[in-house]
């Protein structure tokens, strides 16, 4: 893989310009935020369509009504754990064990929520509480890339979350309603999210340390996923990879004698 020339911007980026001030000033009309959010969220929406359809079909087969499906997508809004829950229902698992599994699967959002906090400093509790609802792998990836470019208004990020949310709810209902009539694999749609993640990681590779972190974490994640059932490998590998990358960065800095 061809390495990108490192940009000098990797030195301490410092705090993002205070989102709070921009939010308080309300300099951006709500309509503009929603528009920008829609534009940023469309790859997520395309990616959610086949997943949502598949979920709707499966959930309906397990005896969930359209209302149950809509409610679960709206209340839980976490794709993989919803699939797992439906599969467990099919196996006759107890509600408590399903809820516990859901917690384990979705605990990876702890890390994403922490990383987003850097860009949402000082915002009101109610805004943060609303924002938290929409944190998924996909919305996190899209918004964190935009935040790092700076100038991404928190309302835009919120609009991304809710656009993705509506797309998810809509496609799962559609799946429950008529999913079995739609041919699987049309137009390469199953690859939308893979391509989106590939593109987003390219935006994140802003220097050597990032590339090493990505490589280490990816290899650890793939290896762990083989021996570790479930999804906890994502959080374990990410913690390990980010920490190793951080240590490497520190070591690098010290070696060059500009330790700070």
């Amino acid at each position: 893989m061809k390495a990108r020339p490192p940009t000098p911007a990797i030195a301490a980026e410092g705090m993002p310009d205070p989102a709070r001030a921009r939010l308080a000033e309300g300099e951006e009309p709500l309509r503009a935020s929603i528009r920008a959010g829609l534009e940023a969220a469309w790859p997520i929406c395309i990616g959610y369509l086949p997943l949502g359809l598949a979920f709707g079909v499966l959930a309906q087969k397990e005896g969930l009504s359209l209302l149950d499906i809509a409610l679960m997508s709206a209340v839980v809004f976490a794709g993989s754990s919803q699939f797992i829950a439906v599969a467990m229902l099919g196996l006759g698992a107890s509600p408590l064990s399903i809820i516990l599994t859901t917690f384990i699967v979705n605990s990876r959002h702890i890390l994403m929520s922490s990383a987003l906090a850097v860009h949402l400093q000082g915002l009101s509790r109610s805004f943060l509480s609303l924002y938290a609802y929409g944190i998924t792998d996909e919305s996190f990836a899209v918004n964190i890339a935009r935040f790092k470019e700076a100038g991404w208004h928190p309302y835009r990020a919120l609009a991304v979350n809710h656009t993705a949310n509506l797309a998810w709810i809509g496609s799962t209902i559609l799946g429950g309603y008529c999913g079995q009539f739609i041919a699987a694999g049309s137009f390469g749609i199953d690859y939308a999210l893979s391509a989106m993640f590939l593109s987003l990681i390219v935006f994140q590779l802003k220097g050597r340390i990032y590339a090493y972190t990505a490589l280490i974490t990816g290899l650890v994640a793939a290896a762990l996923s083989l021996v570790h059932p479930g999804h906890s490998f994502i959080i374990i590998a990410s913690l390990l990879g980010a920490s190793l990358g951080f240590a490497l960065k520190r070591y690098d800095r010290r070696r060059r004698g500009i330790d700070g």
Binding site: M15, V76, A85, P95, L116, V142, A145, T213, A221, A222
Partner: protein, 112 residues
């Protein structure tokens, strides 16, 4: 029937609660205090780590039970898709390109 509906409702609410807390707590706790510089630097590496964990397991680990398969449709299509992303730096273009290549590959087994 009504009782089953009630059970589902409780299940959904429980799932929603345990999903919301890990999303909500770190955000509320960390966004409203000054974070130490080293922690911000560490968090700066978290997105690339998470994305990479998702991508590697998505592209190279397949099947049930899971096993590594280095060369199959998903990983092969990833190569031109990644090059396209590096070249154009366009999210939308890369998604369209990836989908088109995957469609070609899975429909016609192009490239093998």
């Amino acid at each position: 029937m009504a009782e089953a509906g009630y059970q589902y409702l409780l299940l959904i609410l429980g799932m929603g609660l345990v999903t919301y807390i890990p999303r909500w707590f770190p955000l509320l706790w960390l966004a409203r205090r000054r974070l130490p510089e080293w922690f911000i630097e560490w968090l700066d590496l978290v997105p690339v780590a998470i994305l990479s964990a998702l991508i590697f397991s998505d592209l190279f680990v397949v099947g049930e039970p899971r096993h590594v398969e280095l060369l199959q449709s998903k990983s092969l299509v990833a190569i031109p898709t990644l090059l396209f992303a590096l070249k154009t730096r366009s999210l939308g273009g890369t998604v369209i390109m990836g989908m088109a290549l995957f469609w070609l590959r899975t429909s016609y087994h192009w490239g093998s």
